[in-house]
């Protein structure tokens, strides 16, 4: 029990902003251990992002109905009020998004943005300490010339660099869980691999659990020991990555695996 970080029981998310209620996540169960990397795969629209938002407490509650339980280190966070969870959030959960264009504030310098969660969670830190930590953090995501990057605005960086900045800013308080919602989808293939390697390294060094969401099975296979396959808001299949790749039980999973381009499959075998 001790090493269980996140447990989701029977998560339901229903939208009520149209005439017919739309259920986008349906009875989802999952478990994530400390230091584990879990992949969530599924075609777009299958409810992956909604699940991620629910864990991060970022759903706008007034136009949807939410049911089930999300336990983070034994604390129920799905129905807790924002003030209750604010204390440990950001400390304990970090998130990176798909679109590097919109994941950083265009009018603020990189350094300011990376330091923001320090200002909230480590108010006792001096300006110099914050700066030192921000530079460290930028270094740890393998950005060259962190001091220069610190002073830049997002539009001065490439997509891959921005994604690294995002990771630096999500990791600066050393969260226990990093949610990565399609962090590589908008990037070139070579950069994708670099980001995956970076996540792998951070996971090893800091023992951060990672929830890696993607529709790219070949990436998930490289990074995650366990995966969870989603379709239409439901979990189709979950378990060991290797096991699922070699002996997929469900037709949908077989289809997904079949859709990986042949060349890539050969490369990975």
């Amino acid at each position: 029990m001790e090493d269980l970080l996140l447990e989701i029981k029977d998560l339901n998310i229903e939208f009520h902003d149209h005439d017919v209620p739309e259920r986008v996540v349906n009875g989802l169960n999952m478990k994530l251990k400390r230091g584990e990397i879990l992949g969530i795969v599924g075609e777009s629209g299958s409810g992956k992002s909604m699940t991620a938002m629910a864990i991060a407490g970022l759903l706008r509650r007034h136009d949807m109905k939410i049911g089930g339980e999300i336990n983070f280190e034994g604390t129920e966070i799905l129905h807790a009020s924002r003030t209750e969870i604010r204390g440990f959030q950001g400390d304990d959960i970090g998130i990176i998004f798909q679109e590097p264009m919109t994941s950083l504030n265009p009018v603020k310098r990189i350094g300011w943005q990376v330091e923001e969660s320090l200002r909230i969670h480590r108010p006792e830190m001096s300006k110099a300490q914050r700066y030192a930590l921000a530079i460290d953090s930028l270094k740890s995501v393998e950005l060259e010339e962190p001091e220069k990057t610190y002073k830049k605005y997002p539009h001065e960086l490439s997509g891959g660099m921005r994604q690294r900045v995002m990771i630096a800013s999500a990791m600066i308080c050393e969260p226990k869980l990093l949610i990565a919602d399609e962090p590589t989808t908008a990037l070139d293939v070579t950069i994708q691999l670099q980001i995956v390697k970076l996540l792998q390294r951070l996971n090893r060094e800091k023992n951060t659990s990672i929830l890696f969401i993607s529709h790219d099975l070949s990436l998930v296979k490289q990074l995650c020991a366990k995966i969870l396959v989603m379709h239409d808001g439901r979990v189709v299949e979950a378990g060991d990555t290797l096991e699922i790749f070699t002996h997929p039980k469900e037709a949908y999973t077989k289809e997904l695996i079949g859709a990986i381009p042949k060349v890539e499959k050969m490369k990975q075998l």
Partner: protein, 266 residues
């Protein structure tokens, strides 16, 4: 500062006109060639000459001196009006846009009602209840300006509230107030700045209109609008009396319009 040449032409022309206007206003605060309320019986309705470059009014007061003072008054009233409108508009628009929900519904319906009346009419009603004078006009026009700013700001906040960087700030535990004013508000500045300039123009015209109707700046104090109002009796005998204040209104508005256009283009 970027190179002057790299700005659009209309921005540059606007900047020059506005610069000259501001210079005249500042000068007018400290120095006028004649006492703007001092009467000279021998110079009643004098035509423009070297002594009085814009001529004199029906009391023999130097029009140029009164224009300088009047520009200052008009400018300050417009500035205060816009300040009230912008500050209240930002607060209303930011909260309704960011939170949405029933607060948004209610405030926006109120906004629609206020917005449905022309701002001059609203200000007239206000003044007829609370009395005439500079300060009441500022307050009345300011309140009448709130809805249009609130709408613009609300639209911007709706656009930005679900941006990924706002989500990560929320996750990081940043308070809503800080997200609204520190994370999102600076992003709305470009849009806000050009509407501030348009708003400023409307305020200049509204002030002139109110003073023209005799409910703004009270005599013997001058504003561009009140001068126009006093000049209309002498429109044919002394056209210079009306032309110069009118010209100043046009230049002020033109300068700001060009600036606003230029900002939008960038």
């Amino acid at each position: 500062m970027k190179k002057w040449k790299s700005y659009p032409v209309n921005f540059r022309i606007g900047a020059v006109i506005t610069g000259i206007m501001l210079l005249l206003i500042v000068v007018g605060f400290f120095y006028t060639p004649y006492n703007p309320t001092g009467m000279d019986n021998s110079a009643k309705l004098a035509a423009p000459s070297l002594r009085h470059i814009m001529g004199c009014d029906n009391f023999g007061r130097d029009i140029f001196s009164r224009v300088l003072k009047g520009m200052g008054n008009t400018f300050l009233i417009a500035l205060a009006t816009v300040a009230i409108g912008v500050v209240c508009g930002i607060i209303v628009g930011a909260f309704t846009g960011y939170y949405g929900g029933w607060l948004d519904e209610i405030l926006m319906r109120v906004n629609d009602v206020v917005f449905a009346f022309p701002s001059i009419l609203l200000a007239l009603v206000f003044v007829s209840i609370f009395g005439t004078g500079k300060y009441n006009v500022v307050l009345a026009l300011g309140i009448a300006f709130v809805p249009s700013f609130a709408r613009i700001v609300r639209g911007e906040f709706i656009k930005y509230r679900d941006m990924d960087y706002v989500k990560s700030a929320r996750l990081a535990g940043v308070s809503s107030l800080r997200i609204i004013f520190v994370h999102i508000l600076p992003n709305t500045m470009t849009v806000l700045l050009s509407s501030i300039m348009i708003g400023f123009n409307n305020a200049v015209l509204a002030e002139a209109g109110m003073s023209y109707l005799g409910i703004g700046v009270q005599p013997p104090d001058a504003s561009l609008g009140s001068m126009l109002s006093e000049a209309q009796t002498y429109l044919f005998s002394a056209p210079n009396y009306a032309v110069f204040p009118g010209l100043m209104i046009i230049l002020m508005v033109l300068g700001f319009s060009l600036l606003a256009d230029g900002i939008k283009e960038r």
